[in-house]
């Protein structure tokens, strides 16, 4: 089974024994809720799936694991600068065709009454500017496309 996390992709095939699962010395009991067993101590765990992502809580940690469907292409996200939050574009500093360097400010947007700078992640050429000042954008919308 394959999962995507903030740190990259991870694979795991837990060993099953009835309602007990194990992997690398870690044991998870699923008979009555979720109980994690580490070195003979038991810790209560909570888990819920939202979309393709499992949200997991145990020992005061909250982690997320996105299920990678078998056979799905590992679509690399590159060259896209997307809106981190729904909000409004305040100012665009670049035009299409312009050469930019890593760290250059490309655009400022406002979300939840705070300003957020969108900055070039590498040296590149601005291929497309999708919005202009005053436009509303939704979360995840591509704002600017860069090409090398």
């Amino acid at each position: 089974m394959e999962f995507k996390t903030g740190g990259g992709k991870m694979e795991i095939e837990p060993h099953r024994d009835g309602s007990m699962f194990s992997h690398n010395g870690l044991v998870l009991h699923t008979g009555n809720g979720l109980w994690l067993e580490i070195d003979g101590r038991k810790y209560k765990a909570e888990a819920v799936k939202v979309g393709d992502t499992w949200w997991v809580h145990f020992m005061g940690h909250t982690l997320q694991f996105e299920v990678v469907e078998p056979g799905a292409s590992g679509g690399e996200e590159d060259g896209n600068l997307t809106a981190p939050m729904p909000g409004k574009v305040l100012e665009v500093f670049v035009t299409e065709g312009q050469q930019v360097s890593a760290g250059d400010q490309l655009l400022i947007m406002e979300a939840m009454k705070m300003e957020h700078k969108i900055v070039a992640d590498r040296d590149a050429v601005v291929e497309t500017v999708h919005f202009s000042a005053g436009d509303q954008v939704t979360q995840g919308a591509e704002l600017i496309k860069l090409s090398d």
């Binding site: 795991i12 870690l26 888990a47 300003e115 979360q139």
Partner: protein, 495 residues
């Protein structure tokens, strides 16, 4: 005695006030915008009225509509909470002109303190020390002109500001113009007023505020301090009382200055005087918040004073009920935000699929959300305030850490883990908290202190849950044999 109060706010603080009204046997009216229908605070009021319109301007900031509702529903008073219209002198005046009681200070006191430049001048005249800086009345040109005389690093602040909006620190003169423009733009969007002023940035100083209470019988007292130094993006995340930086002498000196500040504007009700305290123990007036404060619970826990009940009492013209200041033990509050601490604390949204708050001795939760609620970008991303009290600071930190570890929030990113780690951070344990500590400790952003075993355990849980379709298969796997007759346990003895 007030009879019926309209609470002109929403969420967590509306819940706090509505509960106080219930306890004081004052009837309450809540108002709510369409996107708040069915949320907790609307259920705590005796009557809840749907605001017409969309967006803040047409709803929670709509003075005309709120006043009409207050009159239509026979209210005799309005409690503004914090934020929204709480520091709007024009609204306070309109409430009073309509023959209602405004639960807060006079419009005069609000406007004297609300305009930060006027406040600076008033405080200087009252003999309260202010931060070296320049009051600026003109636009960008004047800001650029006075900056060199104030010196770098400096802080640009919205004259009408609050909550970190329209506030920018400038360390390098080369960034002054772009930062000044950004501050002015933010200020214009947030407050409809783009004036900013320039102040020396006091590096390594603490943000300590004094709670004051004044009634209409000539009594003005202070209720000790709150240490609010731990901030990110100029917003507080961790507050405590008492502060390790104050001894009883400095507390009394700052308390006297705070009372002088309040008396200078004939203050009535609950208010907060904020100070910056330098490592040398000098203190400077920062601003006065003419309303109940987000972090008021820590003061309540250590002084035993119910600040919101006192507000209701004072507004009704009764004398305040509290006597001599008697601080006891230690209280800490953390603010649980829907945000991603790993991504520069950017606000987060999502559904609270699981929301299980900690309980147990010395734990208080002030929130306006429940499991299943949606966190949207429409309002402030603060989900809850978790407050603990314990006999000592060390025990309070341990209790807070324990409580935060019990706190389960799934479906929306929060700062719970960040707050948990903060409780055991050596600088926090030692009390070396300063307003710039988060930027200093994590200049490249924070990420959780996670061992590989934690990651592997999490992965195991996710994989097993995916495999057994956890959460969806429970009803099927338990089947019919799970039903236990209640009579079979009837004669069972419990130890």
């Amino acid at each position: 005695m007030l009879k019926r109060t309209l609470v002109a706010n929403r969420g967590e603080i509306a819940c706090r006030i509505l509960r106080a009204c219930k306890e004081a046997q004052v009837e309450s009216v809540a108002i709510y915008a369409d996107n708040d229908a069915g949320t907790m605070f609307t259920e705590l009021a005796d009557v809840s009225v749907n605001l017409q319109g969309e967006g803040l301007g047409e709803t929670y900031l709509n003075q005309k509509q709120i006043l009409e509702i207050a009159q239509e529903y026979g209210c005799d008073s309005i409690h503004p909470g914090f934020g929204f219209l709480s520091e709007n002198a024009e609204f306070a005046q309109a409430v009073m002109d309509a023959g209602l009681v405004w639960i807060g200070p006079s419009p005069y006191a609000i406007s004297q303190m609300g305009d930060k430049m006027t406040a600076r001048i008033t405080m200087k005249q009252a003999g309260v020390p202010v931060i070296p800086g320049e009051e600026v009345d003109g636009g960008l040109e004047e800001v650029l002109a006075v900056a060199p005389s104030v010196g770098f690093p400096l802080l640009l602040k919205a004259t009408a500001g609050g909550g970190g909006k329209g506030m920018r620190a400038v360390h390098n003169p080369a960034n002054l113009e772009s930062e000044a423009k950004a501050a002015m733009r933010e200020a214009l969007n947030a407050f409809g007023d783009d004036r900013v002023y320039v102040e020396r940035l006091l590096i390594g100083s603490r943000h300590i505020e004094i709670q004051v209470l004044a009634d209409k019988h000539g009594k003005t007292i202070h209720l000790g301090e709150r240490e609010c130094s731990v901030q990110r993006r100029h917003q507080k995340v961790f507050e405590e009382s008492p502060s390790v930086a104050l001894d009883s002498e400095l507390r009394e000196e700052m308390g006297r200055a705070a009372c002088a500040a309040a008396e200078a504007v004939d203050y009535v009700g609950a208010g907060t005087v904020e100070f910056l305290v330098t490592p040398k123990g000098e203190f400077f007036f920062l601003e006065m918040n003419t309303r109940i404060q987000v972090e008021h619970p820590v003061t309540e826990m250590v002084t035993g004073v119910d600040l919101v009940r006192e507000q209701l009492r004072i507004a009704a013209g009764e004398p305040m009920s509290c006597g001599k200041l008697n601080m006891r033990g230690h209280a800490i509050e953390v603010r649980l935000y829907a945000e991603d601490p790993e991504n520069n604390f950017l606000p987060a949204i999502g559904q609270l699929k699981r929301f299980v708050a900690p309980t147990g001795p010395g734990v208080r939760l002030d929130t306006g959300v429940r499991e299943g609620d949606m966190v949207t970008p429409d309002y402030d991303p603060m989900l809850a305030k978790l407050i603990v009290w314990a006999p000592s600071r060390n025990e309070a930190l341990q209790r807070m850490e324990r409580a935060l570890e019990e706190f389960v929030v799934l479906g929306c990113k929060t700062n719970v883990r960040f707050l948990t780690e903060l409780c055991s951070h050596p600088d926090v344990v030692d009390g070396w908290t300063t307003t710039d500590m988060i930027e200093k400790l994590w200049p490249n952003g924070w990420s959780p202190d996670q061992t590989s075993i934690v990651e592997e355990a999490g992965l195991l849980i996710a994989a097993v849950c995916e495999q057994i379709n956890y959460g969806k298969s429970i009803a099927i796997s338990r089947g019919k044999s799970e039903h236990v007759s209640p009579f079979s346990t009837l004669s069972r003895r419990y130890p």
